[in-house]
Amino acid sequence: MEEEVIKKFLYVNRKAPYGTIYALESLEVVLIGAAFDQDVSLAFIDDGVYQLKKDQQTSVDSGIGVKDFSRTYRALEGYDVEKLYVDRKSMEERGLSEDDLLVDVQVFDEAQMAELMEQQDVVLSF
């Protein structure tokens, strides 16, 4: 079905995990999308940065009764999804540093993030 097109896809994640399903269902799109061999980047801005917080702890039978899906971010590398960008201001005003995050990311300032956005063909916001 697909032609031999490679497009730049950016997933913009601006919502905290668990309070809503957007973080989880966005991740499901990223995983399926990985099969399409496109040029994929993920941006974490605002509360989206919290999606990457280490030490998340809950399960269907304990805590809030919701599955912990945070380890999926660690699996992204195996799907060749390796370009993860975190907005510096969002991280800092939350008192977080790269050490608090469960995957390696690149921390971008506003100019870098704006440039990344501008280069995209498709921006999917969740």
């Binding site: 601006r14 801005i45 605002d46 506003e110 704006a114 956005m117 501008e118 995209q120 063909d121 921006v123």
Partner: protein
């Protein structure tokens, strides 16, 4: 690049963040509850006035009128548009980003 915002700036931080990442020459469309961000005399007038220096800001008139406002209530420099204009803005800009 076209940025779309659909939330009230009083309620959510989308407009603020959209403005933070928009660059010279970009366009911003305010629709649904985001039309409140286009109004004169609110706490967010300064934010939008700042945005107008570098970007073109549009407000969707059907959303504006539904909420009891008219173009005369809107900050000077903000342009009126409708759904067809929204489509045209999307055509004219290579990338569209929704600030949900």
């Amino acid at each position: 690049m076209l940025h779309t915002v659909n939330k009230s700036p009083f309620d959510k931080n989308s407009l603020e963040n959209c403005v933070r990442f928009s660059r010279k020459g970009h366009s911003i469309l305010l629709f649904e509850d985001a039309i409140y961000g286009a109004l004169k005399g609110t706490r967010f007038e300064a934010l939008l006035t700042e945005a107008l220096k570098n970007t073109s800001v549009y407000v969707l008139v059907p959303d504006l009128e539904a909420r009891g406002m008219r173009m005369e209530n809107v900050i000077e420099g903000v342009k009126a548009t409708d759904y067809a204009g929204f489509v045209n803005l999307s055509v004219d800009n290579k990338t569209v980003q929704a600030w949900l």
